[in-house]
Each structure stands twice: as structure tokens, then as C-alpha cells.
Symmetry: D2
Subunit: 119 residues, 4 copies
């Protein structure tokens, strides 16, 4: 398996769904809903923690959170695949767009500006 390659994961997920005949459940609408459920399972770990506490989870909790992050990535990739969207390309484009939207000199270290910018 190649290192860090989204295509490797995408094909792994395709094969997983194909062999189980689960494509019938994987409409974009359903996958989007499943993605939101997984992301909430990440949030469940953080909801009552302070920001500082969220930076130091401890090994056990960190392992659980890693699994929820993985689930979220897998549904996100599956959703992109079903919509025939190149997720890596879309992400690269979005970083470039953000660079233009939030120029360094205007957005540097300002919470208020950040909040206004972040739409």
C-alpha cells in the first residue's frame, strides 16, 4: 500500500462495499448523513472539555478519537467517490482559494478578524 495516498483508501472502500453488495445503501444523501454521525462521535469526546484539555487527551482517549477520525475520513472519501469528485484536487484548490481570501497581512493573529473571515 502506498503511503498517504487517498486513492489507495478509495479503492479499498470500493472493494469493501462491492463485495458486501452495500452500494445500494451508499447514496450520497445517506453517506452524508453517516459522515455527520461520525463527526458527532468525535465531538462527543470534546464536548465537556476545555480547549486546553482537548489538547491533552491521554493515550486511551486519543486512540478512540483516532478511530472516529478514521471513520469520518472513510465516509468523506466514499461520498466523494460516489459523486465522482477528486477530493485531493478539491482540497488543493481550496487551500489556494483560502490564501487569496485571507491575505497574511490582513488576517494575522486577530480573533475578531478571523471570526469574520471564517465564513
Amino acid at each position: 500500500m502506498n503511503t498517504n495516498d487517498l486513492d489507495t483508501l478509495k479503492h479499498g472502500l470500493r472493494d469493501f462495499a462491492d463485495t458486501r453488495d452495500w452500494n445500494q445503501f451508499h447514496s450520497p444523501k445517506n453517506l452524508c448523513m453517516a459522515l455527520s454521525v461520525e463527526v458527532a462521535e468525535i465531538a462527543e469526546h470534546f464536548q465537556w472539555l476545555t480547549e486546553e484539555q482537548s489538547k491533552n487527551l491521554g493515550q486511551d482517549k486519543l486512540g478512540e478519537v483516532a478511530t472516529e477520525l478514521a471513520d469520518s475520513l472513510l465516509y468523506l472519501l466514499r461520498l466523494a467517490d460516489k459523486l465522482d469528485i477528486d477530493l485531493f484536487e478539491a482540497a488543493v484548490n481550496k487551500i489556494e482559494l483560502n490564501k487569496q481570501k485571507y491575505p497574511v497581512e490582513k488576517s494575522r493573529g486577530n480573533a475578531k478578524k478571523y471570526t469574520e473571515f471564517s465564513r
Copy 2:
């Protein structure tokens, strides 16, 4: 830029936050909340569509959804980076785990089983 490489994106995001001094806002708790907001922006496109309609969005809407998928991936990667989690490795491990959890012969094409299994 390497193809499909999560590390490329991770380092792009680090650089983006560093030059804007935005690490102060990027606690795992906040990034998790931002991720859930982005995922809901995907859901906004699908909420009133039938499953069939969600498979055929049309070019304009597809472009908008691609941007929301990208935003979700970027926050997910940023969150993993801040927690020092190797997201690719976690995803590979999760696929392997799922293969054991949902053996082909038991989970094949059965909505009811799928639903019960999917916890």
C-alpha cells in the same frame, strides 16, 4: 506537489495557519466544531433531495459540494495534525477492522443486517 498525499495537505495547512498566527484558534475542540459546521454545509445540499436526486446533482451544485467536501477534509486533517494522529494509518487500520467486523458472507446485501452492523 505529490499526488493524493495527505502529508502534502497537512504541511500546506500548517504553513497556512503559522503565517497567519492562527494556531491560537486551532484547539482540537474548536477544530472539531468547525469540522461539524462544514459537514452540515454538505448536508444542506442534500437535505430535501431524494436519494436518487442526490446521485445527480448537476455541475453547478456538484462544484459547490466539492468545495464543502474539501473544507471538511482540511479541518479533519488539521484536527488530526493537532492531535498528532496519523490519519492515513488510522484509516487503513479501520478498513482492516471493518473487514473482520463485517465478514462478507454474513453482511452481504442485507439492509437490516447492515443497519444492525453499522454501529
Copy 3:
């Protein structure tokens, strides 16, 4: 206890948090996150169902969903209380606003219009 009175629930929740000294955890930010987690627990029941199936849950599942709906209402009320927002009044106002925003003659039974309108 009065019937269907949001204030009754609000005061019940206040008393519950006060006697347990849990106000320290109930910042609006945290309550909002907890609300989103509860709503995702509703979504977990619906994610793989068709729309038709979601209308006929069966008694067991319906009972579980009722509990998740209740949790969501409780966090929503608690969040409104902590922000000193009159949730009932806000809801009445929003219904009135929606009546103006979606006039009957223009919005009648049209999925496309509905989708465009629903932002």
C-alpha cells in the same frame, strides 16, 4: 406540572444543574456542542433508512428516537436559558417570518422552489 410548558422544563433543568453544580460545564459553547451530539444520535437511527422506512420505525426504535428527541430539546432549552433567550417567543416570531418569506401562492408544492427557498 403544566401541560406542554417550556418554562416548566427550563426550571426543571436549572434545578437539575444547580443541585449538581454543573453550571460550570454549561457554557453556551459546550451546550451547543452537546446539542449537536444529541441530534446526531437521532440521525444515527435514520441514516440507512429510506424516507419511507423513516416514517414507520416500529415501537422499539420509536421509543429510542423519542429519548434522543427529548435530549435534544433539553439541551436546546438549556442553551436558550443560558443565553437568556425566550425560545418560545423566538419560535413564534420565526413562524411569522417564514410566512412572509414563503408566501403560499409562490411556494406551493414545488420541490425545486422549496429547495431554493429553504436557505
Copy 4:
């Protein structure tokens, strides 16, 4: 209009959907998705704020948040109505259940216990 009465809102929402012929879009699955989108619009206001900042929003932002809370309540009520669930009764029952689940003497003012308890 009676004060704080969930039934008043429920009937207002029914009438609103009936006159616009929108029941066709209001499957429980869709309403649940719409609810999660509205809750994320609350979260959007809080995502980059500290807990302290989330307690002091200022009048303008507070007004916007009130509208999002209202939207969330309306979809929650509509979802309960479509499932024929008595939301007020479910909420009263859940408060009683929580009182048994989190006895005062065991749960008093302890973040760690709270976190473990809060499932």
C-alpha cells in the same frame, strides 16, 4: 396564543406545511437532516469563541443565535409531530430518568465524573 405551549407551535407548523403542500418533503429522515443543519448554524456562531466569549455575545449576535435556536426547535417539533411522539412528555420523562442516572451526591461538581456520566 397560549404562553410557552409546544402544541401551539406544533399546530402552527402543521398549518404552515399543509397550506404549502410541503408534507411531501417532510419525511422524518429529511426533517432530521434539516434539524442537524440548523444546529450547525448555531455552532457556526460559537466555533471560534472561547467558552467565556460564548457567554457574552452582544445584542446583534444574540439575535441571530435566537433565530437559529428557533429554527432548531421548529424542526425538532415537526420531526416529533411526524413521528407522533409527544415531545413534552418525552422531555419530562428524560429529566426524571436523568435524576436517577446522576444522583446528586455522586455527580456533584466533578468534571471527570460528569464526563463519564454524560453518556
